[in-house]
Structures are given as C-alpha cells and as structure tokens.
Symmetry: C2
Subunit: 168 residues, 2 copies
Amino acid sequence: MSLSMHSASAPVFTRMLGNTLAWLDKAQAHAEARKFDTANYLGLRLAPDMLPLVRQVQIASDGAKGCMSRLAGLEPPKWEDNETSLDDLRARIRKTLDHVQSIPPAQFEGADSREIVIPMRSGDALRLDGETFLKHFALPNFFFHTCATYMLLRHAGVELGKMDFLGR
Amino acid sequence: MSLSMHSASAPVFTRMLGNTLAWLDKAQAHAEARKFDTANYLGLRLAPDMLPLVRQVQIASDGAKGCMSRLAGLEPPKWEDNETSLDDLRARIRKTLDHVQSIPPAQFEGADSREIVIPMRSGDALRLDGETFLKHFALPNFFFHTCATYMLLRHAGVELGKMDFLGR
C-alpha cells in the first residue's frame, strides 16, 4: 500500500533524465540531417517571454538535484549555469544523474515529514513538509521543465513521440 | 518514510486538474479581451502532427480516471470524447475530479503490487505492477498532456506563468 519517499522520487528523475539524453541524441541527428548548428537549439523558446531550452534543461537539473538533496536533509550543491552546447547539456544531465544516484535510500528516513525550505526569488521562503514538497512542488516542477524541453524539440521538428517522453 | 499509493496519486490529479480549470479561465479572459471565439483554442497544435488541445485535455482526463480506476482494481468508465467548447472541457475536467474523489483510499489497499494491464493501440497490452505503473506511466503521461495544454495556451498568448502551473 505504500511506496517510499526515495522510490517515489529517485527512479522518476533517473528515468526522465535518461529520456532527455535520448531526445538530445534525436535532436543531434535531426540537426546533422539538416546541416544546422546544434547550439541553435539552446535558444529556442515557445514564446518570447518564456525561458529558452538551455534554461529548461538547467532548471530541470536543479529541480532533481534540489529535491534529492533537500529530502535527504542536505544542502543542494550549487552548479554554474554555463552550458553553451548540446554536449554541455548532456554533461549537465549526467552530473545530475550521478547526484540523484549518490544519495543512499536510507538517508530519506523521515523525509515525508522533514521541513523543506525553498528560497523564493522574492526573498521569501516556501516551507513545506517533505511529502507535500515532493508531490506538489518538486515532481510537477521537474515535469514542467522536462516537458518544456520535449515540446521545444518537438516544435522544432525533432522526431519525437510520446513513447520517447515516457521512455522504457 | 512512506506515502500511500492513494496519497501519491489522487491529490496530484486533483491539484493539477484544478489548475487546468484556472488556466481555462485565463484563456477565456484572453479571448474576451481580444474578441475571438474561445472554441478556437480547441484546435491549437504545437506541430501539425501533434494532437490538438482538445485531445490533450481529454487524454489527461482519461489518464487520471484510468489510473484511479486501475489502482483500485476497477474497470475505468468509458467517456465519449465529444467536447466542442471550453465549457465542455470544464465539464469534462469536473467529471474527472468527481471520479478521482469518488474512490475511497481504502480501495487502494495492495495497489502497489496489483497487476495493471494497459491495452495498447497495437492490440498488445502493457503489464506493470501498480507502483511501476503509477511512477513511470500514469503520472508522467498525465503530466505530459497537462503540460501540453499549458504550453499550447502559453504559446497562444494566454497570461500564464509557472505558479499557475504549480497552483496552490
């Protein structure tokens, strides 16, 4: 009847980050077939007042890293947002995967009721228990940015379908 | 350390479906300000070979309904996909919310290990245990279609931001 806070988070991040790597491979093939610079993908936006693809990947990465760290009671590591190529984005995703996998499940003991404090841009902080944080903030936020990345590539003509989104 | 299969699913669907209703209200206000027919939203696509907005909402609805029914060991009810207006879509979302809330948590007893059989378009069936189904199929699939709806409205100029996506 129950799943652990670790099993409800780490495998979801792991699978979706792996899927994102596969989408970038398809994006690379598409660019090679059309002979355009793969770096062009990084600036794509769905609207002029939305963040570009490079930021969508960085924020998805931050979301997975931050969720894992916070649920484990650790300070999330700070990473520079300095990616300028598809290869840089792949490295960022692999680094995120390593971080997700580096935290042992036992460190999530009590994570459902741990107080999570999220600094907001406004200077305020959002305070949530671990379970609410995971279900209503961390997972939706991670899916938002992962899905934005997928939609940007799909909109750009990369051959993706829902099975690529879900992965296997 | 653990959350229940019910608490990991029903509240997530409830919140995101409620958020979708709020996006449709903003879409309505945007259409009224610009004096266009709100039914125009239903045909929007991000690419000509992607499903239009009306289908994104219907499939998100089916995803929430199907997940709740299947985890509870029930046959998902079949609903016609006959929505032709924003009001129809609102009614569909409210009906989905009612369905999500109609299944008592106790009916999820043993749902993590229940065998879930998902009929595929190919005629085959996907067989997963309940926990894998929830984490790697039902939730990602639901977020995919919910996020597609958001991105279509955002791309169309509706005033939405990530706090609208996450809701409260």
